[in-house]
């Protein structure tokens, strides 16, 4: 295994810098009219985040409304299946609304209230972030509008209904690929237009500074809990942490508190869609190159003329041509190893978990689980692997049934 070498003077953890850069990635590539809002957001965030009263309120909401801390489950049957390292699952899927997204929306709605904003907007891919946003907007009594690609509305319809039940307005975005990228474009346009009284709760560690920093702050509780749970239950840190990466918020949340622990290997798993050779994938870090998109400099799926390419993944939450700038930084610094698995491998992993552990994972999280097929043979039984089970799979049931109602093990494509 590669050792982690840090060039002197460049810290892995003390990012971003004042300009919002993680190394050479990040920044604030947005029209001038958003600048006052981004400045205000940064100021309010920096002044509140260490304030005891704000911390208490956040903690209260996370405990009593969202259901933190989440368990660290020993996946005994899956461990036996592979016969190597012990596998633990961080159960973010047990949170209210069914995914880690609520960690961020609770934090951001508290910021929105502190800024006196009356209206909340958000983009959503799988609908998990949309539901988590609609939920906190309902709880705190703010108007809420969610942008969602028309194609995503079709494939994640139960979440559309949940958002509507929670009182949010769901806007179908029919431009472009009708998925997450276009929903984000529309949300940004809405924000440009109503910036004065609207807060945009971005759903991942993407977008212009300070969003990647703020979303990381609210998601890093995942890794902080894992540190505590590993220490008390295992008496040591895990050897491997595995998480799926679309925009990358559940992965950053898990990884960030471990960045300085050189013995902990970090693995991000992207969506290889129908296979890297097919050209139909969402493996941004594996196959993209740096570009400027959605307000940030980051790895991007693009053609040679700089036009953004259409990603593909069976998982709506990973179907994004960009990635959080901190991931681009961690890839470049080789602190995190990024791999990818296909739609089919993810689907198989979902069935494997359902039948061995009694847990139906979200398609996004199934990508992290699918990588165990590659990772486990390299491990031995005194090691520990922790997989972030970022969301539950109810929303994906149609896709699962469509894939193979009489699931059988097949060889890797």
């Amino acid at each position: 295994m590669k050792s982690i070498s840090s060039p002197p003077g460049v810290s892995l953890t003390r990012q971003p810098n004042a300009g919002g850069y993680f190394g050479e990635f990040g920044g604030q590539f947005v029209p001038e009219m958003l600048r006052p809002a981004l400045e205000e957001l940064e100021q309010v965030f920096l002044s509140l985040k260490d304030q005891p009263q704000f911390q208490r309120q956040l903690e209260q909401e996370l405990q009593n409304f969202a259901g933190r801390p989440t368990p660290l489950h020993f996946a005994q049957n899956l461990t036996r299946h592979y016969g190597a390292a012990r596998i633990f699952l961080k159960r973010e899927d047990l949170l209210h609304t069914g995914a880690h997204k609520i960690n961020n929306t609770i934090g951001q709605i508290l910021l929105a209230r502190a800024m006196g904003k009356r209206r909340i907007i958000a983009e959503t891919g799988a609908g998990q972030h949309g539901v988590a946003t609609a939920t906190v907007a309902a709880r705190f009594g703010l108007k809420c509008r969610i942008y969602m690609g028309a194609e995503d509305m079709r494939r994640q319809f139960p979440n559309v209904q949940r958002m509507r039940m929670l009182g949010a307005e769901v806007i179908s975005v029919s431009g472009g690929t009708q998925t997450l990228k276009d929903a984000t474009n529309e949300a940004l346009r809405d924000w440009l237009t109503h910036v004065e009284h609207t807060h945009y709760i971005i759903g991942s560690v993407v977008g212009p500074h300070p969003f990647p920093m703020i979303v990381r702050h609210f998601q890093k509780i995942i890794g902080e809990e894992v540190r505590e749970q590993a220490r008390s239950r295992l008496g040591k840190f895990p050897d491997y942490l595995v998480a799926c990466v679309g925009g990358g918020s559940n992965a950053i949340g898990l990884f960030h508190p471990f960045l300085s622990e050189e013995g902990v290997r970090l693995i991000g798993v992207e969506a290889a869609g129908k296979g890297l050779q097919s050209g139909q994938h969402a493996a941004t870090l594996t196959r993209g190159r740096p570009g400027i998109f959605h307000g940030m400099r980051t790895y991007l799926l693009q053609d040679r003329h700089g036009q953004v390419q259409l990603p593909h993944s069976v998982s709506a939450g990973l179907d994004y041509p960009g990635v959080g700038p901190e991931h681009s930084f961690l890839k470049q610094r080789r602190r995190v190893a990024y791999h990818c698995v296909t739609d089919r491998e993810a689907l198989e992993a979902a069935f494997r978990l359902a039948r061995s552990e009694g847990i139906i994972p979200a398609l996004e999280s199934a990508h992290a689980l699918a990588f165990l097929e590659y990772l486990m043979p390299q491990t031995h039984n005194n090691q520990v692997v922790i997989v972030n089970l970022s969301g539950r799979g109810d929303k994906d049931l149609d896709t699962y049934i469509e894939y193979d109602p009489t699931f059988r093990r097949t060889d890797r494509p």
Partner: protein, 273 residues
């Protein structure tokens, strides 16, 4: 700094004439049409032309320019192709030409080769709405070395101190948007906005052009009182949509006249509110 653009701006100030600039999307409705449209705009008396570089994800644009960019991309209008168009246009017209688009295609082209090509082809300026001052600063000397004016945007929510800073880093003119929002939207002018526009000239030393949703003679007159002129974009693209290429030679001058002088027949270009 572009001498051609400077000359035009100076002449306008000296003659106390308000500038009219038109934005059109390169490659819309076809690449051939662009080669015809730009010289017609020049002959119709437009003071300078912005040529849009199509991008797949134009976050600062409303539906009309989004659709035009999409169409232009379907015709294969890459930045390379746009620069080829400029080369052909420069044989026909001496009007100041500015490119307007998003940062990524320019970055993928390579900043140095881009600035160098612009100098060779006599492009006068570049407007990149997603490149705010802070992200531009590291490249400022590169642009300045090639006489390419980088036009910065300000909006009615930009604070005075920041407008003054942007003014200091500007070369040709400042692009002020009518409102906070995307292109093509019809702004409702409020007392607060009027107050903002009235103050603007006290804060800047460079000429100011106002754009985003400017679509009629009335808009031209209204916004010109606060600035050196206006930029018309979405309204022009929507007008083009209604035309056949055969109509261009008569219709485009009519459009320009209607904006500048109020059309005698009361034929202001119709655009939905």
């Amino acid at each position: 700094m572009s001498e051609r653009l400077q000359r035009v701006l100076n002449n306008l100030r000296q003659s106390k004439t308000k500038a009219l600039s038109v934005f059109t999307m390169a490659g819309y409705p076809t690449p051939e049409a662009t080669l015809e449209i730009v010289p017609l705009l020049a002959r119709a008396g437009v003071d300078f032309v912005e040529l849009g570089i199509p991008f797949s994800d134009p976050i600062a644009d409303g539906p009309i320019i989004q659709a035009a960019a999409h169409r232009a991309l379907q015709h294969g209008t890459t930045l390379h192709r746009v620069l080829q168009m400029i080369e052909q246009l420069r044989r026909q017209t001496d009007i100041p030409l500015l490119l307007m688009g998003y940062a990524n295609p320019v970055w993928q082209f390579g900043l140095e080769p881009f600035a160098e090509t612009c100098r060779r082809l006599q492009v006068d300026g570049i407007i990149l709405p997603d490149l705010p001052l802070e992200e531009y600063r590291p490249y400022q000397s590169l642009f300045q070395a090639t006489d390419l004016d980088v036009i910065h945007l300000i909006a009615p929510n930009t604070p005075e101190h920041r407008i003054r800073t942007i003014d200091r880093h500007s070369t040709a003119f400042i692009y002020c948007t009518t409102h906070t929002g995307v292109t093509g939207r019809n702004p409702r002018s409020s007392a607060r906005m009027t107050a903002f526009f009235s103050q603007l000239s006290n804060w800047v030393t460079h000429p100011v052009m106002i754009g985003f949703g400017v679509k009629s003679h009335r808009d031209f007159v209204y916004y010109s009182q606060f600035a050196d002129g206006v930029i018309v974009g979405s309204a022009f693209l929507q007008f083009l949509q209604s035309l056949k290429p055969d109509d261009y030679p008569s219709a485009i001058p009519r459009f320009v006249r209607a904006i500048r002088h109020a059309d005698p027949e009361g034929m202001e270009p119709k655009t939905p509110r």
